[in-house]
């Protein structure tokens, strides 16, 4: 191995791949067989964290950053003047194996710029995965990017070797896509998704009859949307996320705050800030949908097209629905406990366990780790408790903001903007 050359390629192709935020390495069930290398069952592992605080779990690289397309939001677009490089298939295999053996990574996340044609590119990606599985007996995690516009046959083959497949929708609205990536059609993105979804259903049905049915993309599929590049609302983003969860059985939808990399009049200027607070609020909403039993219409609608940057979306929902509160901690059902601001899935579980033994009071809740600074306005421990004193929503919000610190509070202050 020529280490100097590999190092150069790795720097270019890792740098170009880092805007893909998916880092999951969980959800697969590929066991180590025949004393091979690797095991991906159960939990994912984050082996390190970069200085921006994002986890490093997979070797995330592009096969090449040569690309025939010219999508405005993408750093590897054809017209961008950057250094180009390409890995050989064997080089990716060797890197993956050697990193994995040293416990640096959980596996490989391989994406690519599109060279020659979508099929030609996808075929190379599949070859890497196939080689790892069949020649190296590798059972670690493999995430392959589906190339928009590639054929169903290749998508089928990809699923046989990969744990997860993903196509990034990138632009949440069709009008935005026309503006920023005029060469791509919406169907180019959804066609591979549909194929994967159908194969997953087919394989799962066959597995019910024949237990030894081989695996097909056991960790499912995911997608990603760029936030803040085309002036879309939070409602646009979350409604389309919900569509992808339902329509294509996505395991995850990722939201990636647009990092300005190129000067282009269709995009925010290169000096603009990465919308990290907004991204955070979108993930909170995503969690409410997946783990807290909320439906998207409760959180965002045409009267509330954007999330409140001041407070988290659950608190914001609760303030608009004060008639449902206070909730009695000792009698409420789980689905209602989960709707209390400041109370998460784990606290709800602990409360349900603990109240089998005794009636819980405020002291108990504090020790269990409930965020009382928010929860106190929405709960009671006995019928006599009168904490809320029928305060109006605005007053509760004010009190909560006054008595807490937020990690994004410093970048955000509506009051100051009045005087600017």
């Amino acid at each position: 191995m020529n280490f100097e050359r590999i190092k150069e390629k790795l720097n270019i192709l890792a740098d170009a791949a880092k805007y893909d935020v998916s880092c999951a390495s969980s959800g697969s069930n590929r066991k180590n067989t025949n004393k091979g290398l690797g095991n991906s069952t159960g939990m994912g592992i984050c082996h390190s964290y970069t200085e921006d605080g994002r986890c490093v779990s997979l070797l995330k690289i592009l096969l090449t950053n040569h690309c025939i397309y010219d999508c405005a939001y993408c750093v590897t677009r054809k017209s961008n003047d950057v250094k180009r490089a390409a890995f050989k298939i064997q080089e990716v295999v060797d890197l993956t194996i050697n990193f994995y053996r040293r416990n640096y990574i959980e596996g490989l996340f391989l994406s690519s710029g599109i060279f020659k044609s979508p099929d030609h590119t996808m075929e190379r990606l599949v070859q890497v995965a196939k080689k790892l599985r069949l020649e190296e007996n590798f059972n670690g995690y493999i995430h392959l990017k589906s190339i928009p516009g590639c054929s169903d046959e290749l998508m089928y083959e990809a699923g046989l070797y990969a744990d997860r497949l993903s196509v990034n929708i990138e632009v949440p609205t069709i009008s935005g896509l026309k503006l920023l990536a005029p060469e791509k059609k919406h169907e180019d993105f959804t066609k591979p998704m549909l194929k994967v979804k159908n194969e997953l259903i087919r394989y799962n049905n066959e597995r019910k009859i024949i237990k030894s049915t081989p695996k097909y993309a056991p960790a499912g599929q995911s997608t990603q949307m760029i936030v803040g590049a085309t002036g879309e609302t939070d409602k646009d983003i979350m409604y389309s996320a919900t569509y992808y969860y339902k329509q294509f059985h996505m395991k995850r939808v990722y939201y990636s705050g647009y990092v300005p990399v190129i000067q282009d009049e269709r995009l925010p200027s290169v000096t603009s800030q990465v919308p990290m607070l907004r991204e955070n609020r979108l993930y909170q909403t995503d969690w409410l949908l997946r783990f807290y039993g909320f439906s998207i219409t409760e959180i965002l609608d045409k009267n509330h097209p954007n999330l409140d940057p001041d407070v988290d979306p659950k608190l914001s929902w609760a303030l608009r629905n004060l008639h449902l509160f206070p909730v009695d901690i000792n009698t409420a059902e789980k689905h209602m406990l989960l709707r209390i601001p400041g109370l998460g899935v784990k606290s709800a579980h602990k409360i349900i366990q603990a109240r089998k033994y005794r009636k819980l009071n405020w002291e108990h809740l504090k020790k269990l780790g409930v965020a009382l600074n928010r929860a106190q306005y929405f709960i009671r421990c006995t019928a006599k408790d009168q904490v809320r004193k029928d305060l109006p929503a605005e007053r509760i919000k004010g009190l909560i903001l006054q008595n807490s610190t937020g990690k994004f509070r410093s970048n955000f202050s509506t009051q100051l903007s009045l005087f600017n």
Binding site: A14, K18, C46, Y49, E51, D52, G53, V274, Y357, K367
Partner: protein
């Protein structure tokens, strides 16, 4: 019945602790404390009795607990491995209340010591997970993948299965520099090995003779990858340190320049 309470002394192993629980139940002892033999201090008003580890007695306690509730069993084992001072007695009392219940309803998070045990178990679990992430193997000239770690709690027994399943086709050794023992996989089974290493192999910039020639090339590639995957306009060092606390940096090849 003896009016004095008894302090039980055991060898420090988990089986030893379970044997102690067995003896206390069988002899209906009034237990004052449970101590490790190398830390034992006799109390003024209590008798001291030494317990000899008996694996079959330990197993009976283990199975009894398992029948009550499997999740709680894990919490007990994890909390024990925290090596917290006085944890044995807290666990003993907890086991006593647990066994006294006809139908065990799960951990009572409203009870201070039950909550304490579950929180300790959580901490140990977190450390276990961290070690599964932060072990960095270096390939030695005799083809053994070697890593040294310094976990806050005694988690080697908890991570051995994970590494055995994962690295089934390579010899490896993980060494706990604080507790002076390691786990070694010889391609067939994992063994505990007592070792007194005279040199701790931090991931230093200075190279060591014992490792393969290419080893440092791969560390270099990895560090390069680590740096180029960082997005500078999103820098958040506080979050970075929260996830990778400084005390682990000296064993991580990608952080060796930062130490």
């Amino acid at each position: 019945m003896n009016s004095f309470a008894t302090t039980l002394v055991y060898d420090g192993s988990f089986n030893g602790f379970l044997t102690t629980v067995f003896i206390a139940f069988e002899e209906k002892l009034h237990v004052a404390d449970i101590q490790k033999e190398y830390q034992a201090q006799s109390g003024l008003f209590s008798n001291t009795e030494t317990v000899f580890t008996d694996n079959s007695k330990a197993e009976r306690v283990w199975n009894g607990l398992k029948k009550k509730n499997y999740n709680t069993l894990t919490s007990i084992y994890f909390a024990f491995l925290s090596e917290n001072e006085g944890i044995e007695f807290i666990l003993y009392c907890f086991i006593k209340t647990m066994m006294a219940q006809q139908n065990f309803k799960g951990i009572d998070y409203g009870d201070a010591s039950a909550l304490h045990i579950s929180q300790l178990a959580k901490k140990v679990g977190r450390e276990k997970h961290r070690m599964e992430a932060f072990v960095r193997f270096q390939l030695t000239k005799d083809q053994i993948y070697f890593a040294n770690i310094e976990p806050d709690f005694n988690v080697l027994p908890l991570i051995s299965k994970h590494f055995k399943n994962r690295y089934a086709d390579q010899e490896w050794l993980i060494y706990d520099t604080k507790r002076k023992y390691g786990i070694y996989y010889d391609l067939h089974k994992v063994e505990m090995v007592d070792l007194e290493l005279n040199e701790i192999h931090f991931n230093r910039t200075r190279k060591s003779e014992v490792f393969e020639e290419n080893e440092y090339q791969y560390q270099n590639l990895w560090t390069n990858y680590f740096n180029s995957t960082n997005i500078k306009s999103r820098i958040n060092k506080k979050l970075h340190q929260q996830h990778v606390p400084k005390r682990y940096w000296k064993y991580l090849s990608e952080k060796k320049d930062a130490v």
